[in-house]
Symmetry: C2
DNA sequence: TTTGAGCCTTGCAAAATCGAACGCAATTCC
DNA sequence: GGAATTGCGTTCGATTTTGCAAGGCTCAAA
């Protein structure tokens, strides 16, 4: 039973009752139809039709095949409708991935998007490892740093992620407010544990501050932020979040080279679908005021 | 969605995860698999798989197709099993047709056959019109007269249907017992209404008896038999039935040329199936003592 | 970083399939 | 009763599909 097209041919013969009728419906020559039937019967070892001058009458086996094939035809038609409609409607899963640090800003947008499109199930993936668009792990990714240049990815610039150097009022009260970065020796800094972290503000800090002044280190951005908020020292916090927190004091004016560009990335296969386009439009609209610098 | 083989190909790609794996399973070349997928996606206008170096990952549409195609594959496999097994087992319908006059003898045989094969549903068709094997109207036909020579029919000789001339004792008491057919003038005869009836005993009677002596006529064999039994006159009754009825008196010794040969006829497409063969064997066995002359 | 294995793509030749035409049988309509 | 219609079956030439093999790619392990 390893030629589905022959089953389809037999189905139409059973439905029409004649080879010619089936050939017309199928858009092929009636010789082709006969060959398909003969091949199928030969392989099954059972006659599917009784041939007579008025056409083909299904045997019991032919009737059985007819019923199964009719159900199959229905299924395939429904499938076709679903698949063709899938590109047009905004439904199903929407898988978005980004850096963990963007979660506070992404989560409200995703929530609003889900409410705007109740058919959509949102999956927001953040984690240490990079979720890959090529493997279908995500539909949309927010990436930082240099523009990704994967060949199958559609990349467009997003906002710049601006960070500033902050400390709590409590910390300032205990250690004073440094005038500039050069006079920071002896201050306590909060920063990422990995020396090879490629974030531009991290590299800048490493170049300006003594190794031993970085007294709180973690590999988790959220832990670092929490540490700054707890008064552990001076550290980088996204400008937007810092401004919302009156307890934080800006140590120095944010530099342009601290900020890293963010990119919206989609897989080329999915980029044109309405679902992805709808989300990209939505996200760009909601993120208008994210741009700080 | 008009190429079921491409759906089957896509199904195996989704199942295996790689084009090569699917190609192996399908017994075709990698390139063929790729071409099928590309054609299917092109026609649907939607990507079914995301291609990457490690294989093909189904998109949502591909997943949907996979589920539908898997169900289809199951259905087809079950169908194949049923169809291939159908030739071997004795089940389903068994449609038999014969002349009405054979019903008294066929009915018990069919009943016994059904009891021997409880899976079988027996349909016994008798009627004025001939049920045609070519159109799949019956599996087995019992035909009388000259050997049928339809090209697609398998014909084998059956018993001879022997009839005799009988009248009731009551009729004999009233009209006397004619010595031979020549001295029957004035007697009352029961026979078929159609002058062109081709039954040999009917033609013989027409050639021996005056038209006006045939006083009871009908187009229905059962009516004629009932008329003879009711004492309407002298008429032909199957020997077997007449012998079972002590009220009937044989008018003259049955002639050999009254009897017509019966034929067992099956369509060539069905003749080899176990069901038909089982019934033919059964019928021949049960009809051993039908042969009278 | 390099190597190796697996996988997809592409151009060309072979094979299988398909389509057109003709022949034949049965039925229907006039 | 005869012509027209409908429909199946077969053969030969053309088209499509398929297989093959080389080339290039990505990923992962060493």
């Amino acid at each position: 039973m390893d030629n589905w097209d022959e089953i389809k041919t037999a189905y139409h013969v059973a439905r029409m009752g004649t080879v010619s009728g089936a050939a017309d419906v199928l858009g092929v020559h009636h010789a082709t139809v006969i060959r398909h039937i003969d091949a199928l019967e030969g392989r099954l070892g059972v006659k599917l039709f009784q041939r007579h001058a008025r056409g083909y009458t299904p045997t019991e086996a032919g009737d059985d095949l007819f019923r199964v094939a009719q159900a199959t035809d229905d299924q395939f038609n429904q499938l076709s409708g679903r698949i063709k409609g899938r590109g047009k409607e905004v439904s199903g899963e929407l898988v978005v991935t980004s850096l963990v640090s963007l979660a506070p800003r992404m989560a409200p947008v995703l929530t609003a998007f889900q409410q705007a499109h109740p058919e959509v199930i949102v999956r927001y993936l953040t984690g240490d490892r990079l979720f890959r668009l090529e493997y279908g792990e995500a539909h949309v990714a927010v990436r930082a740093g240099n523009a990704p240049d994967q060949p199958d990815n559609v990349v467009q610039p997003f906002v710049r992620a601006s960070v500033g150097l902050y400390a709590t009022r409590d910390y300032i009260a205990r250690h004073g407010h440094p005038e500039d970065i050069a006079s920071c020796t002896g201050h306590r800094f909060v920063s990422h544990d990995a020396a090879d972290n490629r974030a531009p503000f991290h590299k800048w800090l490493r170049s300006q501050v003594r190794e031993e002044d970085i007294t709180f280190r973690s590999t988790d951005v959220r832990a670092l932020e929490a540490a700054v908020l707890a008064g552990a020292g001076i550290g980088f916090v996204p400008v937007l979040e810092a401004r919302a927190n009156p307890d934080l004091v800006e140590i120095m004016t944010p530099r342009a080279d601290w900020s890293a560009p963010l990119w919206l990335v989609t897989h080329v296969d999915l980029h044109r679908t309405n679902k992805v386009q709808a989300f990209l439009t939505f996200l760009k609209d909601k993120s208008k005021d994210w741009q700080v610098l």
